[in-house]
């Protein structure tokens, strides 16, 4: 038996772990003790990560649809067909009729190559990935405010904070290792403020817990800032020296009426006051947020508001402070960094900038498309009205992960051609014309960038199973067939090209990642040690920007017909659409079925007992799930995880989006509940 150190492929904490390999099979896992995040432990998903690699259901050979059925094929035919169909459709309907989903589960190198393929071969900027569904508001909101959308500080710095404000993040379940640092901070007498509509585990150890109504974040954030201003707790010198637009902001805030806080968002003013004082009165305070802030029609404004709060109190630009958007997927940070986005090339270099394009064109030796691409949500809508006719999807499962499953499925089915590369036959792959078997994280080399901007190695532990190929090889072969040669020998070579074209990755090479626990970008040159915390001394954009933000209610709120709020999210044991985690015996044993969390009082009103089935109905559709009575959710609100294909929560959600970030409002919609007789 031997062991291979690699990076976990579940969440963005970026734990390093050893895969145990015996006779060419991955048979176990051990966390790294020295790794600064793993620190000798993993979450339950990590501890059981090895099992899916050899699962019976892994795709082992390419599939081509013949007479309506997916049948076994060889690589030659599969890649040939994709190349031909993409070319034909591009020829006939123009490059803008093609769309690409890249994957936050894949490596940086693969995301970079797919982004390059989309722009050089397909000649379109229509590339996006699941960051659209999680942190696109952070990319825009924090981008506007600070000049960079990533976590401002490293995870380990949390342990040194004096006050931690957690909002819209069920940290213990979704980012267990980050929660661990919060517990460490609490051990050192730090104070914890939790603001969340669900009474999450952290609320039980919080010094202040505030329970707002769904989708009312701007109210309490503005309220908190108003209190801080009124009580003179803001950081005057920081604001005047490091930020801009403050006058307009204060003027705007003056009109905010504190009296509306309790009536709109349900938080008693006294509690908010306590939280405001706690947060503003210390030097080192951190805000941690996640999907609970971003997945709203006001997502970008929510993020902007959080940035306002941090700047107002001077809680940025130094160690142990800052704003931490917790990224979900193992490499969602990297996929954004690599430019798998419709408007930016790698390193957030704007496609619209002719100088940037010229730089890439020189290396890539071809002309790049100028028109901004479509976002993921818009591509799906585009498929509905035939604006998008063909798609290449690498390692994503939009049929389950996008809102309003029925519409998404309908849209995907309307495509003239769909190619999917994945490790399992996902609900999306089932609809494809060609399915390519991809190698899992254990079968390839590359890098992932964790939520704290730490770029780390992924190391191949075993050869690809069956006839699987790593996605970077798939893209190379496909590209070469479409008259654009990609002949990289290894991911290390791809990383060299990334470093050359991407200033923030300028000093990141595989060799440099070897004998340390990765590097934090920005790392502009070979001798640069990396940057654990951003905006040191000054914001990336120069001065921090205050934005005036107004409350906008959610797109759909409960009424007489649909009287309950529904919010969706994840649970500890499972990962997104469950294609990996539900195939792991221990995880599916622990959480086998979908459920709806509801308050016992509502359960009693409906006559529903714990564990009994309930029908949850929205304007889009209905599902039947078991009731889980818990006071974690307030009355008149229910929570459903979206992992379960047999009861997909996203049948219920709607596809109204944030106007700027185009993120759908997964966190709020209205439903009706019925007891199943």
């Amino acid at each position: 038996m031997h062991r291979v150190l690699t990076t976990c492929c579940f969440c963005a904490c970026g734990c390093n772990l050893y895969l145990e390999v015996e006779d060419g099979k991955v048979v176990g896992v051990i966390p790294s003790k020295q790794h600064p995040i793993a620190r000798g432990n993993l979450c339950v998903k990590g501890w059981n990560i090895f099992e899916f690699v050899h699962h019976k259901d892994r795709l082992r050979y390419p599939l081509i649809r013949k007479n309506g059925r997916l049948e076994e094929a060889n690589w030659e035919d599969a890649l040939g067909l994709i190349a031909r169909r993409l070319s034909e459709i591009k020829e006939k309907h123009g490059p803008e009729s093609l769309g690409v989903f890249s994957s936050a589960k894949c490596t940086n190198e693969e995301n970079y190559l797919l982004m390059k393929f989309t722009r050089t071969v397909l000649k379109t900027n229509n590339i996006d990935h699941c960051a659209r569904l999680c942190h696109s508001p952070s990319v825009i909101g924090l981008g506007n405010a600070f000049g960079s959308s990533a976590m401002t500080n490293s995870i380990a710095e949390l342990a040194g904070a004096e006050v931690i404000l957690v909002t819209g993040s069920n940290t213990t379940e979704q980012h267990p290792q980050i929660a661990r640092f919060i517990f460490d901070a609490l051990e050192r007498k730090a104070k914890l403020i939790v603001v969340d509509p669900r009474r999450i585990a952290l609320s039980k150890v919080a010094n202040v817990y505030l329970q707002p109504r769904l989708g009312t974040d701007i109210i309490w954030l503005n309220g908190m800032m108003k209190i801080i201003m009124e009580e003179g707790l803001h950081d005057d010198s920081f604001v005047s020296m490091r930020t801009e637009n403050f006058q307009a902001f204060t003027k705007h805030l003056e009109q905010f009426d504190l009296e509306q806080v309790e009536s709109i968002c349900g938080i008693p003013l006294e509690g908010l006051r306590q939280a405001a004082r706690m947060y503003a009165s210390v030097k080192r305070a951190v805000i941690i947020y996640s999907m609970g802030i971003t997945q709203h029609v006001s997502g970008t404004d929510n993020v902007q508001s959080i940035a306002n709060l941090a700047m107002l109190t001077g809680h940025v630009e130094q160690e142990f402070t800052g704003v931490g958007p917790l990224r979900g997927q193992n490499n969602v940070q990297g996929a954004c960094d690599m430019g798998a986005l419709p408007t930016t090339l790698s390193g957030y270099q704007n496609v619209a900038d002719a100088g940037v394009r010229k730089k890439f064109e020189r290396v890539w030796k071809c002309e790049l498309p100028v028109a901004p691409g479509m976002t993921g949500t818009d591509m799906v809508h585009g498929a509905l009205d035939k604006k998008i006719r063909a798609m290449f999807i690498m390692g994503e499962n939009p049929v389950l992960s996008h809102p309003d499953v029925k519409t998404t499925r309908n849209a995907i089915e309307r495509l003239d051609f769909l190619a999917v590369s994945d490790i399992f036959l996902t609900e999306t792959a089932e609809l494809a014309d060609v399915v390519l078997p991809a190698a899992s994280f254990a079968e390839k080399d590359g890098t992932f960038t964790s939520t704290e901007r730490r770029v780390q190695r992924v190391r191949q532990a075993i050869p690809p199973i069956g006839s699987c190929k790593a996605d970077w090889q798939i893209i190379c072969e496909l590209s070469s067939r479409m008259a654009y040669l990609m002949d990289y020998e290894s991911p290390a070579e791809i990383m060299e090209e990334i470093a050359m074209l991407t200033p923030i990755y300028g000093g990141i090479y595989h060799g440099r990642l070897e004998n340390r626990w990765g590097l934090f970008w920005p790392c502009p040159s070979r001798d640069h040690p990396g940057t654990p915390f951003l905006h040191k001394g000054s914001f990336a954009r120069g001065k921090g920007h205050f934005e005036c933000v107004d409350y906008r209610p959610p797109a759909e709120i409960p009424d007489d017909e649909y009287p309950f709020y529904l919010t969706t999210g994840r649970i500890y044991q499972h990962w997104h659409t469950g294609s990996i985690s539900r195939r792991i015996t221990m995880l599916s044993r622990d959480e086998p079925d979908a459920f709806v969390e509801m308050n016992p009082v509502d359960g009693r009103r409906l006559g529903v007992r714990d564990g009994k089935p309930v029908r949850v109905i929205s304007r889009r559709g209905e599902i039947t799930v078991g009731a889980r009575l818990t006071e974690a959710v307030p009355e008149k609100m229910v929570f459903i995880p979206f992992h379960f294909h047999e009861a997909p929560a996203n049948i219920l959600t709607h596809d109204k989006c944030d106007p700027i970030a185009r993120i759908p409002e997964f966190k709020v919609c209205a439903v009706r509940l019925e007891k199943v007789q």
Partner: protein, 418 residues
């Protein structure tokens, strides 16, 4: 050949090299990333043996792997066949510590009694154990309190005590003796001076423990039902249910059994390390879970370590290796729990009302507001909480009984299923 010998440190590598040629040699190795793990060593040249740090996973990992095939099966023409797979490899475990060795003794008992477990026992009978007692206890070690170290007087096949430039080698069992006899030219007889030096080292090591953990008192408190039950609720707010405390524990041995299909016609029955910290561990096919709450599961783990083992094996099954202390996300560890149990005993009754109230809230019979009101009233009326609800017309006696019954773990039918 005498039972106490000296091996010059310069010869250690040569001796291990000989062993590695004939056995699977497993030893603590510090790898290039700085992690020390028990590793299979085939070539002694490019590794760095590390006898100073505690390997992250216990050596029992090799006797009871995380994932193991129990047998293979196939189905052909409607017939169902089974075929045996048994591990057979001769192994030498070098660089063990006394705590880990004790853990192996405890596992021996578990897998020997009632029904014999062929997988564990086969590995075990083909394994030679070489102990390296700790001279320098680590920060969270408490083997001395646990009665499992730092030195052993028996049980090992060989024991190597570091005396600076040489090892005092004690022969414990025939398998160890055979190993030494085979390569006897590396060894010379030990003198009284060597033995005195070992004795000094023992005294020295024993005086250096930073942790004193009163496992015995905690065990007795548990057995005598004197543990404050609110403790588990408090710990449940910090436990995240990762299962690591059991995965890194050298004496934890629980496993799950499941089928792993290979194709439409064949597959293997596997066992995978399982953990009593996980919610599915006790859940029954119909959905009922006798340990539904996290607090119950935490309690179970400590009950098993402290009381169960004490009653069954007359000692706690915590060997004081300190691993769980260092990995817990929320600082739910043996040292703290034992300290708390010893401090906070006999506060049980005050918790009873709260427990009833909580059960009623959880089953949806009353809201937490109603509970609060009832508790306030109870403070003036002095009635038992249940009576208070009945008198207020909120619940019937039947409803309370039923709710309690569902929460208690007493009953029931003989049918268990998947």
């Amino acid at each position: 050949m005498p039972d106490e010998l000296i091996l010059n440190k310069e010869h250690l590598t040569s001796f291990l090299r000989k062993i590695a040629r004939e056995h699977r040699l497993i030893a603590p190795v510090k790898n290039r990333y700085g992690d020390t793990l028990f590793e299979e060593v085939s070539c002694l040249d490019d590794i760095s043996l590390d006898l100073e740090s505690r390997p992250a996973m216990p050596p029992t990992h090799f006797l009871l792997p995380q994932d193991e095939t129990l047998f293979r099966y196939k189905r052909e023409d409607g017939q169902y066949y089974f075929s045996e797979v048994l591990p057979e490899v001769s192994t030498v475990l070098f660089g063990l510590r006394s705590c880990d060795l004790w853990a192996i003794f405890l596992l021996d008992m578990v897998f020997e009694q009632d029904f014999k477990d062929p997988f564990y026992l086969n590995r075990r009978s083909n394994t030679i154990l070489i102990n390296n007692p700790c001279l320098e206890p680590m920060k969270n070690c408490f083997c001395k309190s646990a009665g499992s170290g730092p030195f052993l007087t028996e049980g090992y096949d060989l024991q190597f005590t570091d005396l600076g430039d040489r090892f005092l080698v004690e022969i414990g069992r025939p398998k160890g003796k055979a190993l030494v006899e085979k390569w006897d030219y590396f060894f010379v007889p030990a003198t009284n001076k060597d033995k005195n030096k070992q004795y000094e080292a023992i005294l020295e090591a024993e005086s250096r423990f930073q942790q004193v953990v009163d496992l015995n008192t905690a065990s007795l408190r548990f057995i005598n039902n004197e543990v404050d039950e609110t403790l588990w609720e408090e710990l449940a707010t910090r436990c995240q249910g990762c299962g690591a405390c059991t995965y890194v524990c050298p004496t934890c041995h629980c496993f799950n059994i499941a089928d792993r299909p290979i194709s439409e016609t064949e597959g293997e029955r596997i066992r995978t390390k399982d953990s009593c910290a996980l919610p599915g561990f006790t859940r029954l096919a119909g959905g009922h879970n006798p340990r539904q709450k996290r607090s119950q599961r935490i309690r179970r783990r400590f009950y098993h370590k402290l009381a169960f083992a004490k009653e069954k094996y007359h000692r706690s099954s915590c060997v004081g290796c300190g691993r769980c202390v260092e990995v817990c996300f929320g600082h739910v560890d043996m040292i703290r729990v034992v300290e708390t149990i010893c401090e906070k005993a006999e506060k049980r009754s005050s918790a009873a009302s709260l427990q009833l109230g909580e059960i009623l809230v959880n089953t949806g019979l009353i809201s937490s507001e109603e509970l609060k009101t009832a508790l306030e009233k109870q403070a003036t009326t002095g009635k038992p909480l249940g009576t208070q609800f009945i008198d207020d017309g909120l619940l019937t006696r039947d409803e309370i009984g039923r709710a309690l019954w569902h929460q208690m773990n007493i009953p029931s039918t003989a049918e268990t299923a998947d």
